[in-house]
């Protein structure tokens, strides 16, 4: 677009210089006077009774200032309501790596030495590790008594209405949530089918693997006010959790967001901030606590493991008949997983007239789960998009044609009976269908092309922002939003466009929880969509106030004025003008008759704008080694309107790389007794520069009626289609199905051997 001042332009991130020079400050970089270093002692067992903890030797070590166990804490329950409330284990540990004691010492080495001196006597108990076994009667129970499920994280992503099946008994069970969706006559649908595909899919636990391990710095003042420097996705959400866990009013907690080195959904639940605050309270000194990478992998909050039995049917003419799915999600030791999203996408992307979906969220003695970019959506998309290719092959119908015939459109019913909001699924499919990478694909031995499409419903949350004009006429956005990967730059562009100035005339600051206007958590692809709308409203309000001042100065009606080239002028009479810097001056000067410009924007968007993404992979499979090489990768995404194409491409490329990781290499591997076997980045393999080709991007723009300037959420969708696109490409190259992720060389070789033996 050429008729914009800022929207659609590749504006550089103002904070980019800080990040390339090492001057940007992350929590681990902070050092304050009197600061102590915190560390946690963690359980080596997945499930055990704590018989005793002896901390005397640790307390006696020179340099140790404090050792805490659950016995020292007032508010820790033996059956905590959530992972965040399980500050230290009381009586029993329920996953390997659960903190049982914490130390604050003069330096980190002394703190670590102190951990070795703490003696814990455990009675090892049988553990529920495999989710299918954990569902059975007689399995070791994760909860000793029933507590209400905490769904606050699912709320943070605010996806869609669920169909929860309420439990009929008060007895605790490892099945923490059940959901059920049904429509039409499924049995009849399968009877009428000419082709039926049945497959069981498995997506293991994966880790979000942000490069910055969790870190927190906490201190208390003499009046009992807590200040936390945090690496978090939402300052207000963190403040609320801390106040709840520590039993103090929110007004006595200040959260300051430092730069965050990646979160991807995991840095919503506060799993280190409460203990850091308690160590600081006990010692009356600032305490910094930073996790190691192995602590992150063993004992943080990975994405859940999911097993899906999926059955679909179709008639020879290509019409779809029925879909039946059973989804089991292993969420580890606390409930609150994205089961609903898996079920809705698995059964909701194509128009099956009859469907039945049963979902089970299962507790196991493993680290509890957290969101990971579009939580649940890659899982649901992987199973249905794998199966659409299998159906197309069995029917002898082109896989693109089958999808275009049956993909949902706005208004079609989702499995929960609600209509699909306005969306661009078809436009994304169309973009793939007419792309040269699809049209000009060639048949060659061991080579294949695959694609998949999936979506993300998009989160909703009320938001507010202010836009202030300063004395020199420049503008300042004040927000409580955490900038994960560039949304602040998009906010500057939104405000600039609304007011009529260039983006470099607008600055932005993240205020702390004491002074920021409320903003929701940066999650669920709702930052631009919701907070961006608040910024737009605040900018519109500021513009009105600017015009009002100019109107009095120029003696012209506000409607006759325009803002252009740093001036407010009368339309058609450019010589009658006042500069923005003059307005800044007259609105703040001593004795001025004008009021300062303070634009205020508050919004609550209530309509979702799902974002769809599609990806196409061209691969070569080495039949000898089973190695899969990605020759070409194209990422397509409907973002409504690309506020900043550079930033949107970055989301598309980074999300693609994460989806490819889920497809080809990432998996947390647990032993039968629940110990993580690959707790390092050498053994837990994320994509490196040599694993990937350049990721091409195709931005599709189907404007949202609700997002600012038509924008939709851009962050989550690009992780969604990757696993299915890769599986379909490898299937195209080998003729074998790969329902069990990741598609490792070993699995490829085995599948080829099995295929050769049966042919």
């Amino acid at each position: 677009m050429t008729d914009t001042l800022a929207i659609g332009q590749r504006v550089d991130r103002a904070e980019g210089v800080g990040k390339v020079t090492g001057r940007a400050t992350y929590v681990a970089d902070l050092k304050v006077a009197g600061m102590l270093y915190g560390k946690m002692l963690r359980s080596p067992h997945a499930h055990a009774k704590i018989r005793s903890i002896d901390v005397e030797k640790a307390r006696a070590l020179p340099g140790v200032r404090c050792v805490l166990t659950a016995a020292d804490l007032d508010h820790v329950d033996d059956e905590p309501a959530s992972r965040a409330h399980a500050v230290l284990a009381k009586g029993r540990v329920r996953f390997q790596g659960q903190p049982v004691a914490a130390v604050a010492a003069d330096d980190v080495h002394t703190a670590e030495e102190a951990l070795d001196l703490i003696e814990v006597e455990y009675e090892i108990l049988p553990a529920a590790i495999d989710p299918l076994e954990a569902m059975q009667d007689g399995a070791p129970q994760v909860r000793q008594r029933l507590v209400e499920n905490d769904d606050s994280e699912a709320q943070a992503h605010a996806t869609v209405a669920t169909n929860e099946v309420k439990p009929t008994s008060n007895k605790p069970t490892n099945v923490s949530t059940r959901i059920h969706f049904a429509r039409g006559d499924v049995a009849r649908g399968f009877q009428d089918s000419d082709v039926i595909i049945e497959q069981t899919y498995h997506i293991p636990h994966v880790h979000q693997s942000y490069m910055e391990p969790r870190a927190a710095l906490a201190s208390w003042d003499h009046q009992g006010h807590l200040t936390v420097h945090a690496s978090c996705q939402g300052i207000f959400a963190l403040r609320a959790e801390l106040a709840s866990i520590l039993h103090i009013p929110e007004s006595r907690v200040t959260v300051i967001a430092e730069e965050i080195g990646g979160g991807f959904g995991a840095k919503i639940q506060p799993i280190i901030e409460p203990i850091t605050a308690l160590l600081a309270q006990k010692t009356r000194r600032p305490v910094k606590l930073v996790l190691s990478r192995s602590e992150e992998l063993i004992a943080a909050t990975p994405a859940p493991e999911t097993i899906v039995e999926l059955k679909t049917g179709a008639k020879r003419d290509g019409s779809l008949t029925a879909l039946k799915a059973r989804v089991v999600m292993d969420v580890g030791c606390f409930p609150g997983g994205p089961l609903n999203n898996v079920c809705l996408l698995a059964a909701g992307l194509y128009k099956f007239p009859a469907l039945e979906v049963d979902g089970f969220e299962v507790l196991t003695h493993k680290a509890s789960q957290a969101a990971y970019r579009a939580p649940g959506a890659p899982h649901g998309t992987f199973v249905i998009e794998s199966q659409m290719d299998a159906l197309a092959s069995a029917l002898g119908i082109d896989r693109m044609e089958l999808r275009l015939r049956h993909c949902i459109a706005t208004g079609d019913l989702m499995p929960n009976g609600h209509p699909w909001p306005f969306n661009g699924m078809r436009q994304v499919l169309d973009a793939i269908a007419c792309h040269p990478a699809w049209l000009e694909r060639k048949q060659a031995p061991n080579r294949g092309v695959g694609f998949a499409v999936g979506g993300w419903m998009g989160g909703l949350q009320p938001a507010s922002a202010t836009v202030r004009m300063d004395r020199d006429g420049s503008l300042m956005i004040v927000t409580g939003a955490v900038d994960l990967t560039g949304t602040h730059t998009a906010f500057r562009q939104i405000a600039a466009e609304e007011i009529g100035v260039a983006a470099d005339q607008v600055a932005i600051t993240t205020a702390n929880t004491d002074s920021a206007p409320f903003a929701g958590t940066s999650a669920g692809s709702k930052v631009i969509y919701t907070i961006g709308n608040a910024v737009k409203a605040a900018a519109a309000d500021a513009r009105e106030q600017i015009l009002e001042i100019a109107s009095r100065e120029l003696e012209a009606a506000p409607v006759d004025l325009e803002i252009r080239n740093g001036k407010v002028s009368v339309k058609g009479a450019a010589e009658r003008s006042i500069s923005l810097s003059k307005i800044g001056q007259v609105s703040t000067a001593i004795g001025s008759k004008h009021t300062p410009v303070l634009g205020r924007g508050t919004t609550t968007v209530t309509q979702q704008s799902p974002g769809f993404a599609g990806q196409l992979a061209e691969v070569e499979v080495d039949p000898g080694t089973g190695n899969v090489t990605i020759l070409r990768y194209v990422s397509f995404q409907d973002v409504g309107r690309a506020i900043n194409p550079t930033l949107v491409e970055g989301q598309m490329q980074g999300g693609s790389a994460q989806g490819i990781g889920i497809a080809l290499s990432e998996q947390l591997v647990y032993s039968p007794d629940g110990r993580l076997l690959n707790a390092s980045l050498l053994d837990y393999r994320t994509m490196t520069a040599i694993d990937l080709p350049n990721i091409e991007t195709v931005i599709v723009e189907v404007p949202s009626p609700y997002g600012p300037f038509g924008a939709k959420g851009a962050g989550e969708p690009p992780i969604v289609p990757g696993p299915a696109a890769l599986a379909n490409a490898v299937r195209d190259a080998t003729g074998c199905d790969f329902p069990d992720l990741p598609i490792t060389p070993e699995k490829v070789v085995n599948a080829l051997r099995r295929a050769a033996a049966t042919s």
Binding site: R10, D12, R13, E15, G16, V17, G18, K19, V20, T21, G22, R23, A24, T25, Y26, A28, D29, K31, H109, Q208, S209, Y210, M211, E212, P213, E259, I260, G261, G262, F264, V290, S292, R293, L484, T485, G486, T646, L647, E649, G650, Q653, G654, G655, S656, A657, Q658, S680, L681, L682, T686, M687, T688, A689, I690, L692, N694, I695
Partner: protein
Amino acid sequence: MSKQILHLTVNGEDREILVQPYQTLLEVLRDEIGLTGAKEGCGTGDCGCCTVLLDGKPVTSCLVVGLQADGHQVTTVEGLESDDGLDPIQQAFVRRGALQCGFCIPGAVVMARALLNENPNPTEAEIRWAMAGNLCRCTGYTKWIEAIQDVVQEVKA
């Protein structure tokens, strides 16, 4: 254990500091000298966030004992910037949007500088191999490659 004296040159400045014999070069840089640009992403040499130049060669400073650097030259990300401004690699990373959360970027730009010092005209494959030890979870590396290729072109022109 008692502290020992470490003499080294960091970003052109001579330093004489007391360090514990078990402190890593990364700890020395971050905790004793206050240069927090290099980051600890793993502490086991797998992620590359702590990459610095030791006598011009890239090392993961979390795997170097501080005292091993005695008498040597260290360049950190802070040393890439000069009075003339940012290193062209730093400029290209900003312009290309090759950074998102930014945590891995100090290590990445130092690694890219080491590559171009050694090989001013690398192919895409050579760039990918050189950067393979620097993990990034945000970008998918495409914009890294473009940024480094931009610098190669600028130098040629």
